[in-house]
C-alpha cells in the first residue's frame, strides 16, 4: 500500500465542501448574482458541528445512526474509488460491487432514519428516493460491468488505470452520458430533484433530512458533498488522463475533472427545468439503456 494512494481520499474529504459552493456560484453567474463566498461550505460545516442536537422522543437510535452511517459509507467508497488513473488505497477483485453496495447501504440508512421520525412527509420523500434508486442502482452496476468487461479486470483501480491510457471512444461517450445522468439523479440535482426547493410536494432528498439538525445535519451536508465527489470521480475517470507525466499531475487532473463536472452540473441546472416526477423514471431508464448499450458493445 503506497502512501501516495492515500492522497486522493484526504484531498476528497478536504475539498468536497467546495463542490456544492462551486455549483451554486455557477448558477449565480447565470442568474446575474454573485453567489456564496468560496468558504461558505466550510463555514456551514463549522457552524453545524459546534451545535448541540435536539431529538424528538418518537425517534430511536436508527434516527441518530442514519447520518453517521451514510457518512461512513461514503468514506469507505472513497477508499476504493481511484482518481486520475492512480491506484486507490484499497483494491481487490470485485471492489466495484462493494462500491455499489456501500452506496446502497448509505441510502438504506438515510431512508430508515427518515421513516423513523414517523412523519408522513418524510415517508413520502423516502419512498421517492427508493423508487428512483430502483432505476439508478442497476444502471450503475451495468455501467461498471461494461468497464470491467472492456478492461478485463475486476477491480476499480486497474480498470481506471487501463481506462486512463487510451481506449475506444464511443464507449467513453455512452458511459459518460449514462454516468452523468446517474450523477445528477444520485446527488438530487435538477432534472430529478431540486436541492433548493422547499415546496414539499416535489422534494425528495431535502424532505428526508428535515428533522435532522446540528451535528447530524453537518454530517449529512458533508456526506452529500462526498457523494458528489465519489460519483464525480467515477465520471472523471473516463477522461484519458493517464498520458500526463507524474502521479501528482494526474491526481490534480482527476480533481480538475471532478470540479469541471460540478461546473457542468451548474450549467445544466441553470439551463434546464426539472422534469415532471412521473417522467423521472423515463430519464433514469434512459441512463440504464446507455450503460447497457456500452455493455453490449464490449461483449460483441
Amino acid at each position: 500500500m503506497k502512501l501516495a494512494s492515500w492522497l486522493h481520499p484526504i484531498l476528497a474529504v478536504a475539498l468536497a465542501p467546495l463542490l456544492p459552493v462551486l455549483i451554486q456560484r455557477v448558477k449565480a453567474l447565470f442568474a446575474g448574482r454573485c453567489g456564496p463566498p468560496w468558504g461558505q461550505g466550510y463555514r456551514d460545516l463549522w457552524k453545524l458541528l459546534r451545535k448541540g442536537g435536539t431529538y424528538s422522543r418518537t425517534t430511536t437510535w436508527v434516527f441518530r445512526a442514519g447520518p453517521i452511517v451514510q457518512f461512513a459509507c461514503l468514506l469507505v467508497a472513497l477508499l476504493v474509488v481511484p482518481a486520475g488513473g492512480l491506484s486507490a488505497p484499497v483494491a481487490f477483485d470485485g471492489d466495484w460491487i462493494l462500491l455499489a453496495y456501500v452506496l446502497g447501504l448509505g441510502r438504506f440508512f438515510t431512508v430508515s432514519a427518515a421513516l423513523d421520525t414517523g412523519s408522513s412527509f418524510e415517508g413520502m420523500g423516502a419512498s421517492r428516493e427508493v423508487q428512483f434508486a430502483v432505476f439508478t442502482e442497476p444502471a450503475l452496476l451495468i455501467g461498471l460491468a461494461a468497464l470491467a468487461r472492456e478492461t478485463q479486470s475486476l477491480s476499480l483501480s486497474p480498470i481506471y488505470a487501463e481506462l486512463a491510457t487510451g481506449w475506444e471512444l464511443p464507449l467513453r461517450i455512452l458511459l459518460g452520458a449514462g454516468f452523468f445522468i446517474l450523477y445528477l439523479a444520485e446527488n438530487c440535482r435538477i432534472p430529478v430533484d431540486d436541492p433548493n426547493t422547499h415546496l414539499e410536494l416535489t422534494m425528495i432528498h431535502e424532505v428526508m433530512v428535515l428533522d435532522h439538525g446540528a451535528v447530524d445535519f453537518g454530517f449529512i451536508q458533508w456526506g452529500s458533498a462526498l457523494k458528489l465527489w465519489v460519483l464525480g470521480a467515477l465520471w472523471a475517470g473516463l477522461l484519458p488522463l493517464g498520458t500526463l507525466p507524474g502521479p501528482l499531475t494526474r491526481l490534480a487532473a482527476g480533481a480538475g475533472g471532478i470540479l469541471a463536472l460540478a461546473v457542468l452540473t451548474g450549467i445544466v441546472e441553470s439551463v434546464t427545468a426539472r422534469v415532471r416526477l412521473l417522467r423521472v423514471p423515463q430519464l433514469l431508464v434512459g441512463a440504464g439503456v446507455l450503460c447497457t448499450l456500452g455493455l453490449l458493445l464490449t461483449i460483441r
Binding site: 475506444e168 471512444l169 464511443p170 461517450i173 455512452l174 423514471p281 423515463q282 431508464v285 434512459g286 440504464g288 439503456v289 446507455l290 447497457t292 448499450l293 453490449l296 458493445l297 461483449i299 460483441r300
Partner: protein, 216 residues
C-alpha cells in the same frame, strides 16, 4: 475512418432509442431527420473513398430524409393540430426496455449472421437490424398515423444501413432502397390527402378498423 463509422452507427442506435422514448411528434420528426442526414454520410465513411454512386446515394438520401420528409410531416402536423402521442399502445418506459432487449437480440443475431462480403464495421449489421426492428416496433406500438409513417421511414433507414454492408457488390439493394423512399413519399402524401378529405377529426389508426367492410 473506422472510428468514424463506429460513432455514426452508435449515433444511429441512440436516435432509435430516443425515438422509442419521445412522445412529442415534432421532436420525433426532428430525430428521424437527423438520423436520415447521418445515414447520408454512411456510404462515404464506410467505404473510405468517394465513388460517384456513393456520393449520389448519400446526398440524395440525406436531402430526401433530412429536408423533404420533415417538411411534409411538419406541414401535416400543423394542419391536423396534433402535438403528441397521448396514449401509445405500449408506454414509453416499456418501449425503452423492449428496445434494450431487441438491441441485445440484434447484437446476438448480427454476430452470427453470415455475410457474403466482409462488413465495413462490426457494428453495421446490429445497428441496421436494430433500426429496422425499431421502425417495425413504432408501426406496431403507436396509435397515430404520423408516428407510423415515421416508423416506416426509420425502417427504411435500417434497410439502407444494412444495404451499406454490400453496397459495392449489390447495387440492386440500393435501388430497392431508393424505391422504398419513393414509396414512403407516396405514403406521406396519402396522409395529407387523408387529412384533406377531413372525413374524420382524428388520425388514430386504431379507429380506422371500424371502416372495414361489413362493420356496422
Amino acid at each position: 475512418m473506422q472510428s468514424g463509422t463506429g460513432s455514426l452507427l452508435i449515433f444511429l442506435i441512440l436516435t432509435d432509442l430516443l425515438l422509442l422514448g419521445s412522445s412529442r411528434l415534432r421532436n420525433a420528426i426532428r430525430i428521424a431527420a437527423a438520423q436520415g442526414v447521418a445515414l447520408g454520410l454512411l456510404p462515404w465513411l464506410a467505404h473510405g473513398h468517394l465513388t460517384g454512386s456513393a456520393l449520389l446515394l448519400g446526398a440524395g438520401s440525406a436531402a430526401l430524409k433530412g429536408v423533404v420528409f420533415p417538411a411534409l410531416l411538419n406541414r401535416a402536423l400543423r394542419e391536423i393540430h396534433v402535438r403528441r402521442e397521448i396514449e401509445p399502445l405500449i408506454g414509453y418506459i416499456p418501449s425503452l426496455l423492449i428496445g434494450t432487449g431487441v438491441l441485445a437480440a440484434a447484437f446476438a443475431f448480427g454476430a452470427r449472421l453470415p455475410l457474403p462480403w466482409e462488413s465495413p464495421s462490426p457494428l453495421l449489421v446490429p445497428a441496421g437490424l436494430f433500426t429496422l426492428w425499431t421502425g417495425l416496433f413504432l408501426i406496431m406500438a403507436r396509435g397515430k398515423a404520423i408516428t407510423q409513417v415515421l416508423g416506416y421511414i426509420v425502417m427504411e433507414n435500417g434497410i439502407f444501413a444494412l444495404g451499406m454492408a454490400v453496397v459495392e457488390a449489390m447495387p440492386l439493394l440500393v435501388e430497392l432502397g431508393v424505391l422504398l423512399d419513393v414509396f414512403v413519399a407516396v405514403f406521406v402524401m396519402g396522409i395529407l390527402v387523408f387529412h384533406i378529405n377531413r372525413e374524420f377529426d382524428h388520425i388514430d389508426a386504431d379507429q380506422l378498423d371500424a371502416l372495414k367492410e361489413g362493420a356496422p
